[in-house]
Subunit: 232 residues, 2 copies
């Protein structure tokens, strides 16, 4: 299961360094964008909306710190996580950097491994999860917080895909979806799988739900499937 690769904007005036970082990050499954100056960076941020920024301390023109501070002041970009890069021996800048709003701070040289690890940590902290309420439909309950499905409080064991499928259905009841739509919504956009694969997972889900609840998933012939409490 490939999760949606996060996009990272690398801001550094030295092209080789940018390249090196980009390669490292792409190997770790991230999307990369590069900018050599604050102006370029700003443009990227506006129209490509990266998930986080790697920002060099020393930059021509506006310095990195200055830029960081500016980003943090702007409401639109205040939430954007920033990791500052700095050359060795400038450790004193650390406090200054963090106070400017950077979320973390790495001194060059660093190992790709460390970079990726910190990046992960920062991104992890930055993504809050929506408050999720349990959904109950006639004794069939799905609790996103516990990641659990129960039928009259006895647990139902299903695989990850069936879980996502059921969750999607329960949050989108009474409406018919084509196999293509389900692939988009449940499997995630850019995966190529046969449409009939949906059928198989529907089958597995029905089986797991048992006679009590399987009728909730209805076949809409020639179209797809539908989750409904009303009989068809």
């Amino acid at each position: 299961m490939t999760k949606a690769g996060k996009t990272v904007l690398i801001v550094d005036d030295e092209a080789p360094i940018r390249e090196m970082i980009a390669v490292a990050l792409e190997m770790a499954g991230y999307e990369c964008m590069e900018a050599a100056s604050v102006q370029e960076a700003h443009a990227h941020i506006v129209d490509n909306k990266p998930d986080m920024i790697l920002l060099d301390w020393m930059l021509p023109g506006t310095s990195g710190v200055e830029f960081a501070r500016r980003l943090k002041r702007d409401d639109l970009t205040a939430e954007l996580p920033i990791i500052m890069l700095t050359a060795k021996g400038e450790e004193d800048n650390k406090v200054q950097g963090l106070e400017a709003g950077a979320d973390d701070y790495i001194t060059k040289p660093f190992s790709p491994r460390e970079l990726v690890a910190r990046l992960k940590a920062v991104l992890r902290r930055a993504t809050p999860q929506g408050i999720e309420e349990p959904i109950d439909v006639g004794g069939l309950m799905l609790d996103p917080v516990c990641h659990r499905v129960t039928s009259h409080s006895s647990p139902i064991d299903i695989g990850p895909t069936e879980y996502r499928l059921l969750q999607f259905f329960m949050t989108h009841q009474e409406r018919a979806y084509s196999r293509a739509q389900l692939l988009d919504q449940v499997w995630g956009g850019n995966v190529y799988v046969e449409e009939r694969t949906v059928d198989v997972h529907i089958r597995r889900l029905r089986k797991a739900l048992g006679e009590t609840h399987e009728h909730l998933i209805q076949t809409v012939r020639g179209t797809g499937y539908r989750f409904s409490t009303k009989a068809s």
Copy 2:
């Protein structure tokens, strides 16, 4: 009902300074205890359980930083807020001090007012050391006060990390956590370790719990883990 005033332990080798600080704090409504050395301080911490520590940078024998680091490493005292005191001109130590685990940092000389303000801020931030009741789940008991885990009153030997992991689980039952979330909550946000490390500690914990209780920690495939009394 304990009295409202928080207890502050002042650690400094110069008696006049300790006195001065003590007077200032008592006027602000705090209880004070004084220690001239690390040994004294340690004794006070163990049997008087102060709410926070004012720690001088320079101390005879073990230095203040060293002491702070030691306190933060020990689970029993890790939550204790620390404010470091240092003479002017040693600002470079700031980073070092904060990294050792200090929560704030004041340079001498300082006004009583500033001291009290910062102290208040730190105390406010500090996790309220709620009355820690033992948690019992089907014979498995974790006692935060004694820092001990027992299965039907026979002790279970686990490492610090497994202890924190178990404590987190027992105070957050029934809910599924990703490895990333566990790293945040149990390891602390600013640590950079592989996510699979969680697996290993889960394993060690399960092993230590034995067949009697290991089923309490459930694997949520594709997501993470969950502590639950209900069967999966």
